[in-house]
């Protein structure tokens, strides 16, 4: 299991080197900085050092136990990230593809609503609005009850 909370960019390929030995399926997901308004140049990601690592580790261990994963990786960045940059990635390895897909979706649902990160849009004029959590993100967790 690999969990990293970092400011620096990373390459998905580096996470996958030797990943999931013995698995039948590997699923990867990358989250990129997207400009919805046409006025955004970057996102500023704030987090809660200490709690972030604990929360992400717990989410990872829950997924690992639930799907008996062969391997799992989560990298999540913080700080200032330009449009188009990779914010985060998850990778799951399992015996079968359904487990790998489901575990990746579970990780994403929980990272969205239970990992202590907050995003703010940065435009040409400087910091703008904080990105609001969507109720649909919170609702998404109920499907795993």
């Amino acid at each position: 299991m690999l969990i990293r909370i970092q400011q620096d960019p990373f390459a998905l390929a580096d996470l996958l080197d030797g990943f999931g030995d013995g698995a039948g399926a590997v699923v990867t997901f990358s989250g990129l900085v997207r400009d919805d308004t046409g006025e955004m140049t970057a996102l500023e990601l704030e987090h809660y050092p200490g709690m972030t690592e604990k929360a992400v580790s717990r989410i990872a261990m829950q997924a690992q136990a639930r799907w008996n994963l062969v391997d799992l990786a989560i990298v999540h960045r913080f700080g200032r990230l330009n449009v188009g940059e990779q914010i985060m990635a998850v990778a799951t390895a399992a015996r079968h593809r359904a487990e790998a897909f489901e575990a990746a979706e579970y990780l994403m649902d929980y990272l969205k609503s239970r990992a202590p990160f907050w995003k703010r849009e940065i435009g040409a004029d400087g910091p703008g609005a904080w990105v609001e959590a969507k109720t649909s993100d919170e609702d998404a967790l109920s499907r795993w009850d």
């Binding site: 989250g31 704030e46 809660y48 200490g50 709690m51 604990k54 929360a55 999540h76 914010i87 985060m88 994403m108 990272l111 969205k112 609503s113 239970r114 990992a115 202590p116 990160f117 907050w118 995003k119 703010r120 904080w130 990105v131 609001e132 959590a133 919170e138």
Partner: protein, 83 residues
């Protein structure tokens, strides 16, 4: 009892500090929030609507009725937007 209190995102901006040490006789988080709101309008602006933010006690998400006994670090923050 003194508790380290941390603020994040727009809560931090409204209060104007990332963290502070608060002396309180409150027994629950709800009681501490009431104390803060009554002490200064900055806290009222940040913390009045309990539905708009979350709280963690010693880095675990808890509800507002959580007891403050043995809590060293509290954090107030908006709903998370990771991923």
């Amino acid at each position: 009892m003194k508790i380290d209190v941390l603020y994040f995102a727009w809560i931090r901006e409204r209060i104007g500090e990332p963290r502070e040490s608060i002396d309180t006789g409150a027994t629950t988080i709800r009681g501490l929030v009431e104390q803060l709101i009554n002490s200064d309008e900055r806290y009222a602006a940040a913390l009045s609507d309990l539905n708009s933010y979350r709280v963690a006690a010693d880095q675990e998400l808890v509800n507002f009725d959580h007891k403050l006994e043995n809590v060293r670090e509290l954090a107030f923050f908006p709903p998370m937007t990771g991923g």
